[in-house]
Amino acid sequence: MEIVRSHILVCAGTGCHASNSDEIVEALQKHIETEKMDKEVRVIKTGCFGLCALGPVVVVYPEGAFYSRVTPEDAGEIVREHIVKGRIVTRLLYQETVQEEGVSSLSETPFYKKQFRVALRNCGVIDPENIDEYIAFDGYSALGRALTEQTPQEIIDIISKSGLRGRGGAGFPTGRKWQFAAAAQGDVKYVVCNADEGDPGAFMDRSVLEGDPHSVVEAMTIAGYAIGAHEGYLYVRAEYPIAVKRLEIAIRQAREYGFLGKGIFGTGFDFDLIIRLGAGAFVCGEETALLASIEGRRGEPRPRPPFPAVKGLFAKPTLLNNVETYANIPWILQNGWEEFTKIGTEKSKGTKVFALGGKIHNTGLVEVPMGTTLREVVEEIGGGCPGGKAFKAAQTGGPSGGCIPAEHLDIPIEYETLMSIGSMMGSGGLIVMDEDNCMVDIARYFLDFTVDESCGKCAPCRIGTRRLYQLLEKITGGGGTPEDLDTLEVLCKHISENSLCGLGQTAPNPVLSTLRYFRDEYEAHVRDKKCPARVCKDLLQYKITDACIGCTACARVCPTDAITGKVKELHVIDQAKCIKCGACEEKCKFKAIIKE
């Protein structure tokens, strides 16, 4: 690779890509050519930096200047000022890095300070479409050493001792899973990667595949060697076009370099990878349904045992891990299991990636050591709720997880502690809710999702979740009774105990956890017929207060002519006609329209 004096890294993850990062790359290149500096400056597309809320992100090295919310129009200024004259464009800098005595390092900002990157180690650092850069950052050395110097059992022992647990959500010890698959009898075995990230709002696996696809390719090849498999499948959802494209490039490059194919590293070991696209069914994230889908059958789960390690893909022993789990493997083999066990807590080792979303300042991707408290993630890294609103709850684990109230914010993030308070680690979606969110409505939202995504194979899930949803609709619609709350609990218990797979077993979690921590909100809905957060439309009324000066703006904007009143006189809303669209409240300059 040519030596150049400056690298301009542009985030090309899905988030920044959607806000035109491709055009920024083009504009930068055009301006660099105009300045005749194309021999000394390189523009590189990388994976996600994590700070998606401030995208598109551009980082200029060697200074490490972190520019946020860059537009294609800013490219000229960055090139002319920063690249030509060496004057950092302060206006575009990420404000947290701007200090009185100059620019601080990105790793010193509140967003990055508490993070520790293992799975995301190369995201935003290397060009994911260039295998040489992955190699330069120690890529494929773990594979090389494994094949030439270690036995399969030694590798499994290292993974076991590291304490790594499945990052897909359930937290099963990875080493034990590998051991089972290695011990299973069979001449043909498979390695499978679950990249069917289905939780609404979660994008950890996508970011790993987009920013560092080779880490997964390398880890799966190591896994193949460890358990004795010669073929691997990557099950990726088709909604991730950038991730799929970069994986395809990575697999092609790995074949060219001989990291995949026959006789890898001059040994007798053969391995290759195949990509399978999923159509986006949530249930296909469940392992048995995923395997069925790869085989070309309908994505439905089946009872376990037999577990996939014994009888999986095409009825052969199969090792199935999640993207993030695989991304940890090369790091552990390079740095040793001892290093890995130094991160995290006693029972949960290493780090966890979270996709921060909802009512939070720094929407984006973060990776923290296990044992970090939720408060640190939400308030320090995430920057708290925007607009000075009060934090109400954090939802982990997506539709299978639960809501964690403010009183539990200080618990450390670990598999067991999250379970003990009625939520779960999940794959890493973390949705923050503030005082304006109605918890009953949130539960209804998640059930709406589960009802849609239930595959329908077993009755407790198919019928149970629908009944659960109908009850929640009744409550948010104002028709609920106190008895309904008891019915909810009974139904939840029944669904979770009798469903066939994880989808149904965990589907009631959002209801159970909100009932547990926010029962007062449920009671307000059924007893007082009020929605305390003023979200449920059927339980609130728009009213005009004395602050009205009679400007008629609201009457003009009302789509159903529900507002009447003369000019300069107090207006009134006809509740029978009002459809509660909120247009009048938005229009009123005098804050005279209130919801109650």
Binding site: L9, Y61, I83, F259, F265
Partner: protein, 123 residues
């Protein structure tokens, strides 16, 4: 891919090119070229190019080349400052691409300051 040595060769070849992205560059030497209008007018651009070339040729991955604004002595431009960690900075003045080769060889490789090119000698 046949051996670990082959992998290592690719690694080292690429690493030199992307070293400047590593944040833990505490022991890195910085070569800073004055690139304000005065510097550019006096010919700082070819000087900077020569540094990049020369450092690349010698594979000095611990040296980064950056640019800065006007240092204040416009009459002595092009000005280049060399920062070696733990040592006082050295300021070279009235630089030309021809002088670059010697500075790289003597100062950056052999830690011998080229006194006759420094601001002390010019004043």
């Amino acid at each position: 891919m046949k051996s670990l040595e082959e992998l290592k060769a690719i690694r080292e070849k690429t690493l030199a090119g992307i070293q400047l992205r590593k944040e833990d560059g505490a022991d890195n030497v910085r070569v800073v070229v004055g690139m304000a209008t005065c510097g550019i007018a006096a010919g700082a651009r070819p000087v900077l190019g020569a540094f990049v070339d020369e450092i690349g040729k010698r594979g000095l991955s611990h040296v980064s080349v950056t640019q800065t604004g006007c240092i204040g002595v416009c009459r002595l431009e092009p000005v280049v400052e060399v920062y070696v960690p733990g040592e006082e900075k050295v300021t070279y003045v009235k630089m030309t691409p021809e002088m670059v080769q010697r500075i790289v060889a003597e100062h950056l490789v052999n830690q011998q300051i080229v006194s006759e090119y420094t601001i002390g000698a010019a004043e």
